[in-house]
């Protein structure tokens, strides 16, 4: 390790910033010898894995944006292409199942890129002995979700592995959508922009956690899984040119999305904790679990960064749609602290809300 001269009076925050800047200049490197659950949690370890291995090896402009979908020019038109593997456990949970999640998740990745979702593919990895009736139920729920979202599942594949070599059913969905308007991107984010969330956060993650039955907790909660393309379209229509970017807050939750926005834009995100909508049951379960709702996955909520002057109209548009009834303005974008998320706590203090470390809620999606 090298030591660098540092002003003795550098504040704690300046030191943090320096450290982050130094880290940024280094090429990302996976230090672990073996894959850990944290590599799949959507937080810091996932980011390092993706940047150090995948982006490094596959290097191309679409991948390097680290957006949820790739914007592609094909035959003069602009498509968005996206993929997600689903390994949620249990497969069935209050409010949904892996099939619905797989369809909605891919529809949402297209929707938050500003695309109109059209076609989906589905790749199944099944474990020998998996009940055919469960598969039938999952497939029916995929068909329902696709019909509701107005997309067609046009191609697929099925593989079966021996008993004990998978966990029932994994589904990888990919999606194609058409981009009618501008491509949205974190690079469009500016100081003064407003940050909205489309509804109460953490319902999905806590519901799945409770459905595992490992905790002696009960709560009247259901997953928020939903296809968001109608809601994103309503927002884009209400404030044309005013939406900088959107991202669905899945693995790693809202805090991770905000960190990605801060890092990609090089700007600071100031989040007002008290303004973030969290159901009491979610807040209570999180307290018992020792995790923050801000890091818990949603499957039917997104974060939108909009022009600060049009935040009111944007919020009205979201609230006017059934899936956005609980939308809220939760923060603003500033010049400082660059690349970081500053949380104004409910008690009046401030602290940095970093990316998720470790994996408090494995296999949530």
């Amino acid at each position: 390790m090298t030591t660098e001269p540092m002003t003795p009076r550098a504040s704690r925050e300046e030191q943090v910033l320096e450290r982050i800047e130094r880290a940024r200049r280094r090429r990302p490197r996976v230090r672990e010898e073996r894959v850990t659950l944290a590599h799949g949690a959507g937080g810091k370890a996932t980011q390092t894995l993706v940047e150090a291995l995948f982006v490094e090896a596959f290097r191309n402009p679409a991948l390097e944006t680290l957006d949820d979908g790739a914007v592609l020019s094909v035959d003069g038109g602009r498509l968005v292409f996206t993929t997600d593997s689903h390994v949620v456990s249990p497969l069935f949970f209050p409010g949904g199942d892996i099939g619905e999640l797989a369809v909605n998740g891919t529809v949402n990745d297209l929707a938050v890129c500003g695309a109109r979702p059209l076609y989906l593919s589905a790749g199944f990895v099944l474990e020998e002995g998996f009940p055919v009736d469960d598969l039938r139920r999952i497939v029916a729920s995929m068909a329902d979700a696709a019909a509701r979202a107005g997309v067609s599942i046009v191609t697929g594949d099925t593989k079966v592995v021996e008993r004990g070599k998978a966990d029932g059913c994994f589904i990888t969905t990919s999606g194609i959508g058409v981009l009618d308007g501008e491509a949205l991107s974190a690079s469009a984010v500016r100081p003064g922009d407003a940050i909205l969330v489309s509804g109460p956060i953490g319902d999905h993650g806590v519901t799945v956690m409770l459905a595992r039955g490992e905790l002696d907790l009960e709560a009247d909660l259901t997953s928020d899984t939903a296809a968001l393309h109608g809601l994103t379209a309503a927002l884009l229509d209400a404030v044309p040119g005013g939406v900088r970017m959107m991202r669905d807050a899945t693995r790693g939750g809202v805090a991770t999305v905000l960190n990605e926005i801060a890092q990609a834009s090089g700007l600071g995100v100031v989040l007002d904790e008290a303004a973030v909508p969290v159901r009491p049951a979610v807040a209570g379960a999180c307290e018992l679990l020792g995790i923050e709702p801000l890091y818990v996955a949603c499957e039917g909520r997104f974060v939108a960064v909009v022009d600060g002057d049009r935040a009111g109209a944007a919020l009205d548009a979201l609230r006017g749609h059934p899936l956005g009834a609980g939308a809220a303005l939760v923060g603003t974008v500033r010049d400082d602290p660059p690349g970081l998320v500053l949380l104004r706590t409910a008690f009046g203090g401030t602290r940095i809300a970093d990316m998720l470390v470790g994996d408090p809620l494995p296999r949530i999606c």
Copy 2:
């Protein structure tokens, strides 16, 4: 079971035909209560599962063709969209690995539809504890394969499941290609057409089987995994309008592809066993394993149905390309027996080569 009157003199073949016709009029139904390895083998059980569950639930024209890829109209252009999950075991084998297979497999599904492969997505399901160096090797080999095939891996996802809940690494790739010419389809197949295979069959399946080390067999064999878009383009260029359809002979091998062609066209395929190129090492291993090379997976070979009058030019085009040097004319399309594959054996007899039943070679791709 109902009994039907039957002419007492009906030949064995006529009885088989009747039985098949009756089966066809029934809606396909999965009779098993649990998923078996055969459901993933690409043969009869896979076909029933796909038709009874997936096609039935997702019903749309693109899916119902049961082609390797879906031909889609998007913004005036025609795209092909395809997906494949890869669960090969072992992950590394002579001549390739799961990463190369995942890229080539999806490139090939696009190529045999007549499309120009452009963009790939990759979804990884990793088992906790999987060596990062192995992942690095797999990713490097995907990058190499993509570069060789001229495609970009533009989007992806990584999930991690607990130790014992997967088998190291599963990869689902999806692909988008552009269709410049006509869409190829089994419905274009006509009596008098010629059937070609692009090279010696079964190398991949036998190589993977031997790499498992479960058999006390050694052979100087490597997988045939390769991206076939150059070879398919060469064929399409050489006999414009003369190629009816192509299909890569992966799971279930050449015999399964030929059955799919016979079923989709309602015509008969007559296959000349002696004309099918099989390396001596593959033939020997298959004999010891008690399986027929015709049912063993290739990952770099395809079957093409071409206008019978242009079979010579088509064969020359294949043989003029490094990946088609071992191409051969192996059969013809006739009116009879409708929907079936008739094998003229090397000993001068004939028998019906049905779809693969069971799974003699699990997790070959």
